[in-house]
Every structure is written in structure tokens, then in C-alpha cells.
Amino acid sequence: MWKKKLYASKPSSTILLRTTELAKIQSPNSVSHKNTPILNPLLQISASYSSSPPFVREIEGEFFATAGGLFFGGSRFHKKNVNLFVKKKNSFCSESQSAEKLQCWNCDATTDGTTPFLVCQACRSVQPVNHSIDYFQILGVERKFNIEVDELEGKYKDWQKKLHPDLVHSKSQREREYAAEQSARVIDAYRTLMDPLSRAIYILKLENVVVDEEERITDPELLAEILELREAVEDAEDTQALNQIKAQIQEKMQYWCNSFEDAFLNKKYDDALGSIQRITYYKSAKEELVKKL
């Protein structure tokens, strides 16, 4: 009876097909809990990827299924061995270390590598956050400074349709947590790439060039210019004057954004950092100006 019911629900049906095969082969334990036959084979699947052989022998503990997923009791269990693995532990794999095969925790399908692995294509379950996928990959744009920001919004919304916590009510606790994290990461990606300054800082970070948050400078020319600019903003009498200054700032920001791009493409990271400094100064001047408007 329960078998039929489980067949009906899509996500677990694939698991069931595989587990029923294994259930025939293996003799279940004497535990009379109705979910045991399914759990055992699942354990076998995960056990085959486990790095510690003793784990397999310790499956005599109690099993109980909770609403969120599979939980294993028993004092002999080490929690860390219970995780159904996302990545295959490749002791036999001939592939290079860098090309890790990402695997769905739910259905064990491997990703085809064409889209960022935030959601499994096969069973549509949300995956845990993988920090090696950078923001450019998430939003499907080339890793360069001058991207089309118009493209970002569409892709951002597409991801949120699949990842947003509000849309995953029906899924397991674990998956909802993954959804919350993934969704937050996608939002970060979108915000970072939308703003030119944060995009510039991020793209440098990907090249391992980090902007020093505490750096102090004494460049008299630059500082005098910025001081003058800020004073002009403060002294400006009317909207017209402010808009004039705003236009000047826009121009300068554009110039330095272009300068950043040149420096970045030519791998002149010192110049790139210099451009970022200037853009930061202009941006804060603009923020003060906008407050006055």
C-alpha cells in the first residue's frame, strides 16, 4: 500500500526504483518500521561512497524517518558519516582533481556542466551552496568588467523562481535551508554585478587582488581634487548647481571605469586598484550630493 503511494510522488520514485532492486538482493533487518526496506538500500548507496568501511557494519541502529528527511539514531553512529554525499569520493576516478563531478544529494544524478549546479536538473532538488561557482557563472555572464547589466535581471529572476524560500514550502527542511542559502547567494551575485564599483572589486578578487580596507594615502593631487569636489557639493546653493556637479562626477566615473577595464585587461593590477580608489571617492561624493537633492 505504502509502496504505491511512494511511487506516486515524483522525487522519491527514482530512488524507489533503484532501492526496490537492492531490497530484493539484500535481506532487511528485523526492525519492523515500515520505512526500513527503503532506508537500508539508501544507506548502502551512501555507504558505498563513504570513506570509512566500519560505517557499513554499524547499520544496526534504529532508523526513523522524520518529515524533513532521513535521520538515523543509534549511539554508534557518527553524524558526519550520515550525510548523503554531494560529491563522489573518487578513489577510482581517472578524472583530474580539478574537474570534480558534482552529484545531486537527492537522486545522485551528475550535472552535465552546462548550467551552474544550484538545482539538480533531474529531480529539481536544491543543492547546497558551492562557493567555487562564482557570481559571473551564476548569472550566466562572461567574466569581464563591461557586462550587459540588462541581462542580469532576467537571469536573476529565473533563479529566484527555482530557489526562493517562499516557493519551496513543499520541500524538505534540508532543501529549504539550501534554498535560503542559494537564494541569498544569488541576490549577492546580482547586487555585486549590477554596481560597477562592486563588480570591479569582485573581479579583482577573483584574480586574488584584494582591495585593502585600511589603506591610507597621501597623494596630494588626488586628495586635493576630492576635497575640492566635496566642498563644492557642500557649498552648492541650488538644484541646478548640484546637477551640474553630478554630471561632472558621472563623467569622471565613466572615465575611471574605462581606465579600470583597460588596466584589468592588461593585468596592470596596481593601476586597476588606483582606478578603484578614484571611483570609490567619486561614488561617495555622489552619494552626499544625492542626499542634498
Binding site: E214, T218, I226, L227, R230, I276
Partner: protein, 175 residues
């Protein structure tokens, strides 16, 4: 005058805990706020202004923190004979902590000897204002500023001294 001056430095008014500087410490129960001394320096700015850069008695220190877009100008007026700082003023564009740090320094240096003020440490400033860790670089900026101002004055003085020394030699040569 003060109002205008404060507006110059401070923009539209105290940005009530700008998001950048606000830190909510989870578990401690209280959100981290600006210390009352910082708020005081912000609302009642003292020594805001400018001296004439070209004045030989004036030393100007101009420093900046590009990562947060801060600019700090600190000026001292020195009495040539005694080497004492008779007056100081500042202009800072940046967060409340940066403004307060530079304001505190201008207060501290008045009436002191130049050599004495070089020993002002950023840790003292930070302690006085109870700056949180994320704002410690503001106090470092203020320390840099006063050092730069002193250095500028001494450079000016050295230049003018060398000109004075050269002049009598010239006169002798002409004679």
C-alpha cells in the same frame, strides 16, 4: 556660522547610524552605536575650518582612506619662536568616527609643542572615542594627518630657512 560649517563637513545631518558603520552584535542584546563622544563631536563640531595654506606658519596635513572614500585635512598654526602650536583646524569628509577623530586631535594639539604631538597615538584617540574595531583605521588616519601637518610645516620652514641663508650669500656676492 557654526551651522554652515557643520553642514559643510557633515552633509545633511547625522546619518542615523549609516548601515556601513552599524553593527548589531547578535546575542549581546544591544546594537552597537556611536559613542556619545563621537556624537558630541559630530553635533558640536569644534575647530572646523581652514587656514591659509600659503601662510609660512601653517602646516597642512592632507590624508585619505580610499577604501571608504574618506578625506581628512588637518592644519596647525605654529609659533615660529617657541615651536608651540597655537591653533588648529580640520576639515573631514567621511564617517562620524573619522570626523570625531580629527576633531579630537585638533583639540589635543592646541598649546602643545610640535615634537610632543608627534607622539599622539591612534590607540589613544580610539580609546577616547570608544571606537569599534571596524573604525580603528579612522583614528590611524587622524594620527597620519597630524604627523603630515607637522612634517609640512617643517618642510616649509626648512625651505624658507635655506632661502634666507642663500640670500645673504648672494648679497655678499653682489657687493
Amino acid at each position: 556660522m557654526m551651522r554652515q560649517a557643520s553642514k559643510m563637513i557633515l552633509g545633511q545631518g547625522l546619518p542615523s547610524l549609516p548601515t556601513r558603520t552599524r553593527a548589531v552584535v547578535v546575542g549581546a542584546g544591544k546594537p552597537r552605536m556611536y559613542h556619545e563622544r563621537v556624537v558630541d563631536h559630530y553635533s558640536n563640531p569644534r575647530n572646523v575650518g581652514s587656514f591659509d595654506k600659503k601662510d609660512p606658519n601653517v602646516g597642512t596635513g592632507l590624508v585619505g582612506a580610499p577604501a571608504c572614500g574618506d578625506v581628512m585635512k588637518l592644519q596647525i598654526r605654529v609659533d615660529d619662536e617657541s615651536g608651540k602650536i597655537v591653533d588648529a583646524c580640520f576639515k573631514t569628509f567621511g564617517c562620524g568616527s573619522a570626523i570625531a577623530s580629527s576633531s579630537v586631535v585638533t583639540e589635543w594639539v592646541k598649546g602643545k609643542q610640535m615634537e610632543e604631538v608627534l607622539s599622539i597615538k591612534n590607540t589613544e584617540i580610539a580609546k577616547h572615542l570608544s571606537l569599534p574595531p571596524v573604525k580603528l583605521h579612522c583614528s590611524m588616519l587622524a594620527e597620519d594627518a597630524i604627523k603630515a601637518a607637522v612634517k609640512d610645516y617643517e618642510t616649509k620652514r626648512a625651505k624658507s630657512n635655506s632661502i634666507e641663508e642663500a640670500a645673504p650669500v648672494k648679497k655678499a656676492a653682489d657687493a
